[in-house]
Symmetry: D2
Subunit: 120 residues, 4 copies
């Protein structure tokens, strides 16, 4: 699966997001090192800080399926990840993230997205 | 599926939790109104506030699968839900939650768990 | 200071909330056992789950000022606290919370707001 | 006030952090454009995801005091900010953050800390 295809999986699943407060639908698709793909969407809450992002939704689904840090190769996201999700990409040691930024598809490493973060 | 069986599903999946910081493994299993069951676990992060609970993990998996508020009948959890997750049970309009509390299996409605909360 | 006065302090400070996404201004005022009052407001973020509620804002200000669990007597809030904040009221062992609910000023204990929660 | 002095304020206030779960005390000090300094500490919760970081504590105190995005010049932090807090530095449009990283005091812009983030 190419990074572009992973991004397209994220775009497709975004339609299922539960985002009645922002109306901003986000999707994410995680590529595991064994080739499996797991998806996520943002899930909002009337108490805004209690919601979760699509990247966390996808990565937690990977954990439920038996995967952990080191098992995830890449993620496709419909938009640039928020800082909180960048910390998750670092925690799970992803090689790269692909997302739409300023109208262009870009691919970045977790370290590029979160410079100077601490070692685990 | 009985409430006890749902709780037992939660206990079984808890082994997959990613909880290296608290070593406190939590599992959750959601029963959808069509009979399907979806599972979740807590996923911690080195930046503690960025982690997510098992209940959110399970409910976000239900959303990814195409379900939303009103579609979830019950949840089984290995422990009493935190306040943040009770707000999610309210948002998704679950009928009831079953969990272990003081060594006993109890079942409560979302309204009992979060009295006086706002209408959606 | 009466519970009503504490609530009125919450109403007054709510005007300072940073809530450009929900336009829902929330204020909170905490009464410490030594008589001091500390205030808080909700602070939202473009990434919704990263925001914080007024109750957390007020209680963290109390911590910065040198107070901790057991030192806080009561809180006034402009609205019913979300589940996440109820967990903070429990953690800080407040005696009571006063807020507007269905057009009426109500006062509840932390235990009433979060039944069946765990012991600390 | 120099960036080093701001950092030293963060170190001093960190002693007041409420961090019984991680035992990791974090302090932050925010320099407002009018010269005033506001402090914050991390406040943890038994439900880990409900805690807040020192940077959020400090910036919310600034908001309570009547300041908002654009009014904050710099922040000193005892450690590299997590991704969630970097998003707050972006939201509040800080010029720079100073913190200890790999034993050295470093100063970075909000854009350096969170490359490719969205415009507000």
């Amino acid at each position: 699966m190419t990074d572009r295809e992973l991004y397209e999986r994220a775009v497709a699943v975004a339609q299922r997001a539960y985002a009645p407060y922002s109306s901003y639908l986000v999707g994410a698709a995680v590529l595991l090192r064994d080739g499996r793909v797991v998806e996520g969407v943002n899930v909002e809450n009337a108490a805004y800080p209690l919601g979760i992002c699509a990247e966390k939704s996808a990565l937690s689904a990977a954990v439920v399926a038996g995967y952990g840090p080191g098992d995830v190769e890449a993620i496709g996201i419909t938009a640039s990840p928020c800082g909180g999700c960048r910390q998750w990409l670092h925690e799970f040691r992803l090689d790269r993230a692909t997302y739409l930024h300023d109208g262009e598809l870009v691919t970045r490493s977790a370290a590029e997205l979160l410079p100077d973060t601490w070692s685990l």
